[in-house]
């Protein structure tokens, strides 16, 4: 058991709070998908310690926090997390900019899945194009998340 076990839950809780944090009117669609970003970082950095179970539970909490269908974000996060764990060795050696592009692509796929599910239950948003603004913010925020979590991980010497 790693003595720094609290680091992953702690970062996930902070991410969940960022998801609920009120933003100024009009900027909500541009909020990055913090929880998925943090999940993806841990999936790439410590795949042997970070599994689908934690990813799924974080997704479930996002569902509750957002008032979405139970399981909607959980499904999306588990899917992108599984891909990231499968490809973690390739992703790890990429430069951060390239990682950002790949992660953005993953999140675009996830957002499309979310849109599809919302549409099936009759909750599709009016402005579909704005819906994809959030994954595109990953291009800017992935390097930030990456640098921050890498420093944390090194400071607390987690795996």
């Amino acid at each position: 058991m790693n003595p720094r076990w609290w680091l992953v839950p702690f970062t996930l809780i902070v991410a969940l709070m960022l998801v609920m944090m009120p933003l100024p009117e009009g900027t909500e669609p541009f909020r990055p998908d913090w929880v998925t970003l943090v999940v993806l970082y841990w999936a790439i950095a410590v795949p042997q310690r970070f599994g689908l179970t934690i990813a799924w539970f974080s997704g479930l909490l996002v569902d509750v926090a957002q008032g979405a269908l139970l399981g909607q974000h959980a499904l999306g996060i588990v899917l992108v997390c599984a891909i990231a764990i499968h490809e973690h060795q390739r992703l790890r050696v990429c430069p951060v900019a390239q990682q950002a592009i790949i992660i953005t692509a993953l999140l675009l796929v996830k957002q499309a899945l979310m849109l599809w599910i919302s549409g099936m239950v009759g909750r599709a948003p009016d402005n579909i194009w704005l819906y994809f603004a959030s994954p595109l913010m990953t291009l800017i925020f992935w390097p930030v998340v990456f640098a921050l979590l890498r420093d944390l991980r090194r400071r607390y010497q987690m795996a």
């Binding site: 909490l61 008032g67 139970l70 399981g71 499904l75 899917l79």
Partner: protein, 308 residues
């Protein structure tokens, strides 16, 4: 170190397991209500986070209250005193009318209506899905809040509770595209349905024939037909009527009375909808929670806003 050979279930089997789990959860959540308990439990788990996220907004409000100038405060107190006087005057008239109404009802031998109970709740500054119109309130099942409960503000109907946790509850606003509210035009009793459009300042009144008597400025109140909202609460004012000869129904747009995107404080209502057992139970629970000094009079006061 990562083991060279995978043990136990393979990764693809686990992914498949979680996919199936998520999909069955979604189907279950969409089709049945059993998962509300699970959602309630998880809502209770994240409630501390919601309150923590709310702290900066709370602090901001507190600070701005502290640094308010004396002149502003005096002005506000004067304004409130005038408002109080006005409301008291109206309340006197209302009480006379109420007793007269009770007497007439007794003469008619019809069941007299009890007043609704209310509880003041505050909105938490917590963001939800930006594509749906929802708000989080700072009261939950511990205060007797239940699913489907009406939420109003000082000006009109705001929405209804859709999810409850122990300490918080989520309300769907009437402006959400998935929300429909049975209403009637106050002037002539024409019944219709007010459906949200996704914009906080417009509702659409559905199924109004082209030749129906609807005018701009008409006042729309709840009809109480759905059994969920008490009747005669103000909902909206008609702002646009478009009669379309080629279509079976006219397009009628109304503006909500409630300040859907501005209110910080709302009222939770325990309606008296003629179901003795349920009402009794709700009232009992409400009475326990009703320590905010709110009496039934406030609900009636709001109802009194309805112009005759």
């Amino acid at each position: 170190m990562q083991p060279l050979f995978q043990q136990g279930t393979g990764p693809s089997a686990r992914v498949a397991f979680f996919i199936v789990l998520s999909i069955s959860l979604m189907v279950w959540d969409q089709r049945a209500q059993h998962l509300e308990a699970v959602r309630g439990f998880l809502t209770g788990a994240i409630a501390p986070l919601q309150y923590a996220v709310n702290v900066p907004a709370e602090l901001l409000g507190w600070t701005s209250q502290r640094v308010m100038s004396r002149g502003d405060l005096i002005g506000e107190v004067n304004e409130l005193q005038r408002e109080n006087l006005r409301l008291r005057a109206r309340q006197q008239k209302f009480e006379t009318l109420q007793s007269e109404n009770d007497r007439l009802r007794e003469l008619l031998d019809s069941s007299s209506k009890r007043d609704e109970r209310v509880l003041v709740a505050e909105l938490l500054s917590v963001d939800l899905d930006p594509y749906r119109q929802q708000v989080v309130l700072n009261h939950g099942t511990r205060d007797g809040v239940y699913r489907g409960q009406p939420v109003i503000d000082a000006y009109g109907v705001m929405g209804q509770i859709i999810h409850t946790g122990p300490f918080t509850a989520t309300a769907l606003l009437i402006s959400d595209p998935n929300h429909a509210l049975p209403v009637q035009i106050n002037r002539n009793g024409l019944r219709t349905i007010a459906s949200g459009t996704g914009e906080p300042d417009s509702l659409e009144l559905l199924y109004i024939p082209n030749n129906a008597d609807v005018r701009v400025g008409d006042f729309v109140v709840t009809s109480g037909l759905g059994g969920r909202f008490p009747p005669n609460y103000p909902v909206a004012t008609v702002v646009h009527v478009e009669r379309r000869p080629g279509q079976p129904f006219a397009r009628v747009i109304a503006e909500p009375k409630a300040q859907l995107d501005r209110s910080r404080e709302v009222l939770l209502v325990w309606p008296d909808n003629g179901e003795p057992a349920a009402a009794e139970q709700d009232a009992g629970r409400a009475a326990g929670a009703d320590d905010t000094g709110e009496s039934a009079g406030s609900a009636s006061g709001t109802r009194q806003e309805t112009p005759r």
